[in-house]
């Protein structure tokens, strides 16, 4: 009689608690959080918690939520299904043919997860209870910034120097090509001139003597005119107008009109 009364009282109390939880359902951070909250009603160390009792509490909670037509998020229902499975494993005698971990192993892991989450919550609270910078202890208010003194040193390599010099000294060479024509004699020019002169070349004559006036002095001009004259001579020889000979290596090249 008295026992029944107490039990009734408890069940009323439990029902109220369950309803209070359901009202709070939005504040739970998922099924594990809810399980941790439920486990507190067992008023025992988490290491001695009855996972079976906890599973029953959770399933009762979900049942109650259903009756109240409360939408529970999917993960709550997944957890309910899993706990129902766990419950059956814990209650039934172990089936030796069944694969996988035993109900006890699964229960132990869930207990571990709950204990770990609880431990992290407590640690977080301890951490936040510590003296904090800017609240309990303070950094220097009047800091002196480290002044960055930048010293710049300049450097150059010998290569830079030589390239720089070469750049200045060859600047003139970058003028348009046509501007340098005064130092260039083309083969056509030479040929033109030699055709006119060749009639007078009855005897062997050094090709250098055919250089036009003003092209024998400055090296660049002389080089160009020499080359043009030589090329023109070859052309005239090919046409059969003259003959060419050279006595020795580096000896003067001589031409004369071909006797016809």
């Amino acid at each position: 009689m008295a026992d029944d009364f107490v039990e009734d009282q408890l069940s009323v109390g439990e029902r109220l608690a369950a309803e209070a939880l359901i009202v709070d359902v939005g504040t739970f951070e998922g099924p594990l959080d809810l399980l941790l909250t439920l486990s507190r009603t067992q008023k025992v160390d988490l290491r001695q918690i009855s996972i079976l009792a906890l599973a029953q509490q959770y399933l009762a909670f979900v049942e109650r939520a259903k009756q109240l037509r409360l939408e529970l998020a999917a993960d709550y229902l997944v957890m309910a299904a899993w706990l129902a499975f766990l419950k059956s494993r814990l209650l039934l005698p172990p089936d030796p043919t069944e694969e996988g971990p035993s109900g006890e192993e699964l229960a132990a892991h869930l207990a571990f997860q709950l204990e770990r989450l609880q431990a992290m919550r407590e640690s977080a609270a301890k951490l936040m209870a510590r003296d904090q910078l800017g609240r309990d202890f303070f950094a220097r208010g009047l800091t002196e910034d480290v002044e960055r003194v930048k010293r710049v040193t300049y450097t150059a390599t010998l290569l830079d120097l030589m390239q720089g010099y070469a750049r200045i000294r060859t600047r003139d060479e970058f003028r348009p090509y046509v501007m340098d024509r005064d130092a260039i004699m083309t083969m056509e020019q030479a040929l033109d001139r030699m055709r006119r002169l060749i009639g007078f070349a009855g005897d062997w004559t050094d090709i250098a003597t055919y250089l036009p006036e003003g092209w024998g002095g400055e090296p660049s001009r002389r080089r160009s005119a020499t080359a043009a004259n030589f090329a023109a001579s070859l052309e005239l020889a090919k046409e059969g107008h003259i003959e060419i000979r050279q006595g020795d290596m580096f000896a003067p090249i001589q031409i004369r009109r071909k006797k016809t």
Binding site: Q132, G134, E144
Partner: protein
């Protein structure tokens, strides 16, 4: 064989006396709001100085004073004694209130570091929102650590010097209750006994693979 060279150098640039070095460290630490590493101290002090030794002396000198010399990671800073915080209402900075999720995530990172996002989610039993991680990153309390050498090479999170500085910790080893947690095995990552916890995605995959091979 390098000793000769070292000795030669030392005689060439004689370091200032230790008392002077202590003054220098004192001046540098006083001037900075941020912790200063021993390396940086050495870099700013004259050649041949031993800031580590100077710090030992300096630390002793400030014991019980209104400010203390604190070690934060591998750096040093001067902070006011925490029993005098009540004098500092004017300097108190209102810190942004952190959500419960952010505080728990921070604690998990601090106690379990280096830790992956999946591991944080396993411990908390819910997914970690991007905003939470972003907020902690922004506060410079956490940073990315090395990638884990597990499939997918996930990034990990670790706490920063700023975190240590904020909570007055010399290192993450000094976190309150760390030893007890470790002794209780609560910092181990213990896998689910090979089966199906609904929110454990990794295990599901493992099981799937296991089944494939078993069949």
């Amino acid at each position: 064989m390098n000793d000769d060279l070292t000795n030669a150098r030392e005689s060439l640039f004689e370091a200032p006396p230790m008392g002077e070095q202590e003054r220098m460290v004192e001046a540098i630490l006083f001037a900075s709001a941020e912790p200063v590493s021993v390396k940086e101290l050495a870099g700013r002090m004259p050649h041949g100085c031993d800031p580590a030794e100077a710090l030992v002396h300096l630390r002793k000198r400030y014991e019980g004073r209104g400010v203390t010399i604190m070690k934060i990671g591998d750096a040093w800073a001067i902070r006011t004694a925490s029993d005098l915080g009540f004098l500092m209402q004017k300097e108190t900075v209102e810190t942004r209130k952190l959500s419960r999720a952010a505080i728990e995530t921070l604690a998990i990172i601090a106690y379990h570091q280096p830790v992956t996002r999946a591991e944080i989610e396993e411990i908390r039993g819910v997914s970690v929102s991007r905003g939470t991680v972003d907020q902690l990153l922004e506060m410079d309390w956490i940073k990315f650590g090395r990638r884990k050498m597990t499939p997918g090479r996930p990034v990990t999170f670790v706490v920063t010097q700023g975190f240590l500085d904020h909570f007055g910790l010399e290192s993450a080893r000094d976190l309150p209750g760390l030893k007890e947690l470790r002794a209780a095995g609560l910092l181990e990552s213990r896998p689910m006994p090979s089966a199906v916890l609904p929110d454990d995605r990794e295990d599901e995959e493992d099981d799937f693979q296991g089944e494939m091979f078993e069949e």
